[in-house]
């Protein structure tokens, strides 16, 4: 009965289909780091180098902000190339929030594939989050990781970042025909998906923490029109981060603007909105201490 009602709602939902676009973007982003070592190794084309720790597209260089920050904190010096390379990702996070995480990151790509696989195997059976740690853990992980790097005098996330490791494993496989052992870290990171969707992304990824912090006053937010909401709470069940868009939690720092709730919303009460005041936090409080995140 309940399921029948859901399907009825699905036919009436809005035209938004961010899920497909997101999967396509994730696939393209993954293809970049898959094809790039092959081009470099087999064809000697050096136009594209690196992966999501630093990506060089011709003379346009990107540097992951957390990696740049760690390098800065540990050595107390910064290279101009690194500084400029960090600007575009930081600007992206400042305006759009954690979109790197939901639309580009290879870990997100694998996690979405797992979700799709799960949906194929179990039909419409909904995933249960068995263990949901406090979201605030994200900030502690970010600060703890930076402190640990400074204590050790060597950057920790740079060595073992899961998104970076995907690129490193692919490159090492192509160039040296071996898979370094640290790639095993990817197994528990993706294995956590069984316990809780995006457990690593939700509260254990320091890069996600930094991007969330930078994007806490982002311009692009998922906003709800309360008049159109029919209280079906399908958005709450579909949020991969376990947020509750029905209660306005998409306005907190934690939302990564993936658009899954918009896709799920039957009456199109949720939509991306460009905010001009750049202050998505409803009650105008700093995001870290906002009540909605507790």
């Amino acid at each position: 009965m309940h399921r029948h009602k859901e399907q009825q709602g699905r036919t009436g939902r809005g035209a938004a289909r961010y899920g497909r676009w997101r999967l396509l973007t994730l696939l393209l982003a993954f293809l970049v780091i898959l094809v790039n070592p092959l081009l470099n190794y087999h064809l000697g084309i050096n136009w594209l180098q690196g992966w999501y720790q630093s990506l060089g597209v011709g003379h346009l260089w990107f540097v992951s902000p957390l990696e740049g920050l760690e390098s800065l904190l540990v050595t107390r010096s910064i290279a101009m190339a690194s500084f400029i390379g960090m600007l575009i990702p930081l600007l992206l996070a400042f305006l759009l929030g954690r979109v790197f995480c939901s639309w580009i990151c290879p870990i997100s790509f694998f996690a979405e594939l797992l979700d799709h696989g799960h949906r194929l195997v179990y039909r419409n059976k909904r995933r249960q989050d068995l263990l949901v740690p406090a979201r605030r853990l994200l900030w502690f992980v970010l600060v703890g990781e930076l402190l640990l790097s400074m204590i050790l005098g060597a950057p920790v996330f740079v060595v073992l970042s899961p998104p970076g490791l995907v690129g490193r494993e692919i490159m090492m496989a192509v160039f040296f025909h071996r898979l370094p052992l640290e790639g095993l870290i990817l197994l528990p990171v993706l294995g956590m998906e069984l316990v809780c969707r995006r457990l690593f992304c939700r509260c254990l990824c320091p890069l996600g923490g930094l991007l969330a912090l930078v994007g806490s006053r982002r311009r692009l937010v998922v906003a709800m029109e309360p008049e159109r909401c029919v209280q079906c709470f399908r958005c709450d069940r579909n949020c991969p981060l376990g947020l509750r868009p029905s209660r306005g939690e998409t306005l907190t720092s934690y939302c990564w603007n993936c658009g899954a709730c918009i896709d799920a919303c039957g009456p199109a009460a949720l939509a991306f909105r460009w905010q001009h005041n750049g202050n998505p936090s409803r009650d105008n409080q700093p995001p870290v201490f906002s009540t909605t995140m507790l």
Binding site: N36, P37, N40, Y41, G44, N46, Q49, G50, W51, Q53, S54, L55, G56, W61, V63, S64, E67, G68, E70, S71, V74, T75, R76, S77, A79, M80, A81, S82, G85, M150, I151, L152, G153, A154, P155, V156, V158, V159, L160, G164, G167, R168, M171, M172, F175, F176, P180, L181, E182
Partner: protein, 190 residues
């Protein structure tokens, strides 16, 4: 330097007694690419993006894995296997300045040191002058003194072409001419 200082502070030990996962992989014939910052700063500054590895046309730059501890993901050359031909492509793609542009002459990846006991010319076995012939700075970095090769430290770039070409390999895997890193593992440069 910071690594040494912090290592010392945390583990309450002098800098040279760092735990294994903080120990630099730079040793004899295991060198950083050209234009590298001091080894004390290298692991902190390098963001392990692998771009230098990808652009090296000779596949000379290898990437360390987790067995190197916190140095995992940093670039390292094994010059007796593949030396550095000083093409300087890697220094141009480093986004962090860990490798910075440097001329071929001013590159100092290490210093070639001849083992006069195993060297064929010095031990009087043959008139071998392979290292001299292969040196890109012939008569400047290596010259022949009475048909025996001699390294001139102020011109040697440490590229490892001589090590790669040397026909002698001793039981430890060393050649008769080896590149010694300029960085000292006992923290003398810290």
């Amino acid at each position: 330097m910071l690594a040494a200082a912090c290592g010392g502070a945390v583990f309450a030990a002098p800098a040279y007694a760092r735990p294994a996962f903080l120990e630099s992989p730079v040793t004899r014939n295991r060198l950083r690419p050209p234009g590298a910052v001091s080894e004390d700063l290298f692991a902190g500054r390098c963001i392990r993006c692998g771009r230098c590895v990808e652009v090296c046309p000779y596949r000379a730059i290898d990437m360390l894995d987790i067995r190197a501890g916190l140095f995992a993901g940093t670039p390292l050359l094994a010059v007796e296997k593949i030396p550095c031909y000083l093409c300087m492509k890697c220094v141009l793609v480093c986004p962090t300045g860990t490798l910075s542009p440097v001329s071929q002459e001013q590159t100092r990846m290490g210093l070639a040191v001849i083992n006069r006991f195993s060297c064929l010319a010095w031990s009087g076995k043959t008139l071998c002058r392979t290292c001299y012939d292969k040196c890109p700075f012939k008569n400047r970095a290596i010259y022949l003194d009475q048909l025996q090769p001699v390294i001139r430290a102020d011109a040697c770039t440490g590229c490892g072409l001589c090590t790669h070409a040397c026909p002698v390999t001793d039981p430890h895997g060393d050649k008769a001419v080896n590149i010694e890193p300029i960085y000292s593992r006992v923290g003398a440069t810290g």
